[in-house]
């Protein structure tokens, strides 16, 4: 029905199963819309009706995502009632306050909750889970700057994901680390990722017609299809109910 956008094309036709997707953005251009797109895609694909999303939100409250996703045509509240959408609000109940134990920023208990949620799922859903993290830099703040804690968490998630054949989508702000000498966290995240999506502003600045550009590097080996190692680059314009993708200069 829907015309497939350049982003979907670059990501590959099939479900993201077993993939780790890293979204990178900067202050000027937010990549949150890609996250919303992937969330909608996971929840409303008719072929994959057994899809489940575990969403870990450090950046925004549920009402924010709910409103956006409703405009995209996906009702999060209904999906949650059907146990297809699990939301962990890490913004409101700051993990470092309600339990001051060990200074792990609540990441250990968060992982415990994710594990519990996933193991409680019926067998049909088990290998169609997408874990989404918005965003990792705030998780780092929750862990009081302990890169190791965050990396441990991500590695555990990665293990979980590869064990069940699920996918992991994480957002991080690349410009935070750009000035560091050895930005371990972002480097390790990039290493983990099969698909890298980077949102940047245009070199000429922001315009009302072009909100920025996306670079998609798909490192996953696609079975039977042509290899997609070539990075795709295209411009985008974010709208309330959709995002327009187009090649540079293809817009009149």
């Amino acid at each position: 029905m829907e015309i497939r956008g350049l982003l979907d094309e670059a990501l590959g036709l099939q479900h993201l199963s077993g993939r780790v997707v890293l979204l990178e953005d900067c202050v000027e251009t937010s990549a949150a819309f890609v996250l919303h797109h992937l969330l909608k895609r996971s929840l409303s694909q008719p072929l994959h009706s057994s899809n489940v999303v575990v969403f870990i939100a450090f950046a925004q409250p549920l009402s924010h995502y709910d409103r956006i996703l409703r405009k995209l045509g996906c009702n999060l509240a209904a999906q949650r009632d059907n146990s297809k959408f699990f939301f962990f609000d890490m913004l409101m109940d700051c993990p470092d306050e309600d339990n001051g134990k060990g200074g792990d920023g609540g990441l250990v208990s968060l992982y415990g909750k994710i594990l519990k949620t996933m193991s409680a799922l019926p067998q049909v859903n088990k290998n169609c889970v997408t874990v989404m993290i918005d965003d990792v830099s705030l998780m780092e703040v929750a862990a009081r700057g302990s890169t190791n804690l965050v990396l441990d968490f991500l590695h555990y998630c990665h293990t979980l994901v590869s064990e069940f054949g699920c996918s992991l989508v994480m957002l991080n702000h690349e410009d935070i680390y750009s000035g560091m000498v050895s930005p371990t966290l972002i480097l390790q995240m990039k290493y983990l990722a099969d698909i890298l999506i980077k949102a940047e502003p245009l070199a000429t600045g922001l315009a009302s017609d072009v909100h920025g550009q996306l670079t998609v590097v798909n490192r996953s080996i696609v079975d039977g299809e042509r290899s997609r190692n070539k990075p795709c680059n295209f411009h985008f314009k974010v709208k309330e109910n959709s995002v327009e993708y187009f090649y540079p200069g293809s817009r009149t």
Binding site: H36, R67, I68, A77, F87, S137, G205, A207, V238, K239
Partner: protein, 362 residues
């Protein structure tokens, strides 16, 4: 958890619409947000209505000039004029003294005329292409009723009258004394607990102003992660309450990565910069250079409940004092661009515009 709430909020939009206009200083924004005024009419217009309730506004200070104080003062005064409780934290020994420097709203009649005059002046001075924008502005001002204005024009030379300062819930905190951020966090938490966000009605709105958050006299410089998590939890608390916090900070004192981290945390990000007195290059580049006090850069506009970024026509504005009394912000664009006619011309124009402002970026 919060899903039921979110659901109810969108269904009860009509109730909201019927009840809230009675509260002064509140305005409906898009996507179910509410605006309060920044205290500077021009800034409200630039931001599309004002500061959204529940948002964290961060102002990047200029290391050499106290221009951020202009924004803070107007923000605080506007809240007091609208009877909104205020929490003010600053690194000064006695923050309460700062209240004496708050500007007073201009007398309504005077206010109106003072608004008309500059507009007409500009109409004469400025190229005809801009006329349509002034037409819009005029309407905006007329539609406001004089009594409960959303945004007052503040007279910077007149101190705020005593009646606004006494008998109000003004909470002042000095962040110099406390050894860590727990005290400030607790004060913010207790302050914000007065304004829980309920779906049906907004009874009261709070404002938090934190000045020079990471200033050296606070002694937090070695507690970077504490500051990060303070801001993070402040943002979390704001989201669930009817309040706006304006936090100013000198980015030069932070490590670059921390500064960017804060910029990411901010919903609305502004920065101010002073204009050097004798900058010949700038003076030839910009018209009206003599009247300028500084530059304001709008780096990010809050995107609450939406994924669509707000793209402004211009991001750098000059801060001017009109008649040495009123704070006005003016666009720096020099080239006469008419965005509506001729798309190719328009786009090339905006490109050149942005590159020009880029040279003034900080």
């Amino acid at each position: 958890m919060a899903g039921a709430k979110a659901r109810a909020s969108s269904f009860s939009r009509n109730v909201l619409g019927a009840s809230s206009p009675q509260i002064p200083g509140l305005k409906h924004g898009p996507n179910g947000t509410m605006f309060i005024s920044s205290g500077i009419p021009d800034l409200d217009k630039i931001l599309g209505g004002g500061f959204s309730l529940g948002s964290l506004v961060m102002v990047m200070e200029d290391a050499e000039a106290p221009h951020h104080m202009l924004l803070l003062r107007n923000f605080m005064s506007q809240g007091l004029v609208h009877n909104q409780p205020l929490l003010y934290a600053s690194p000064a020994k006695d923050p309460r003294q700062f209240l004496g420097t708050l500007p007073s709203p201009a007398v309504p009649k005077d206010d109106k005329s003072s608004h008309r005059d500059p507009d007409q002046d500009k109409g004469l001075r400025i190229a005809w292409q801009y006329k349509k924008y002034f037409g819009e502005n005029q309407q905006n001002f007329d539609s406001q009723n004089g009594k409960h204005e959303f945004c007052n024009n503040f007279d910077l030379r007149k101190p705020l009258e005593r009646q606004f300062l006494t008998g109000k819930c003004i909470d002042c905190a000095s962040i110099q004394d406390s050894p860590n951020l727990v005290t400030l966090h607790d004060r913010c938490a207790t302050f914000l607990s007065q304004f829980p966000r309920s779906d049906s009605n907004i009874s009261c709105v709070g404002r938090i102003a934190i000045q020079s958050f990471c200033a050296p006299q606070c002694g937090y410089s070695n507690m970077e992660w504490d500051m990060h998590s303070f801001l993070r939890s402040l943002k979390g608390m704001l989201r669930s309450s009817n309040a706006v916090a304006v936090v100013t900070f000198p980015p030069t004192l932070l490590s670059p990565s921390s500064s960017i981290r804060w910029q990411h945390m901010a919903d609305t990000l502004l920065s101010v910069k002073a204009i050097p007195d004798e900058d010949k290059e700038l003076a030839t580049l910009l018209t009206g250079y003599q009247d300028m006090v500084g530059l304001l850069n709008v780096q990010k506009v809050a995107q609450i409940n939406t994924q669509v970024p707000v793209i402004l026509e211009a991001t750098t504005f000059s801060i001017k004092l009109q008649k040495r009394r009123y704070l006005v912000l003016e666009c720096l664009n020099q080239a006469p661009i008419d965005g509506s006619s001729g798309s190719s011309y328009g786009t090339s124009g905006s490109c050149s515009g942005s590159s020009k402002t880029g040279s003034l970026d900080f």
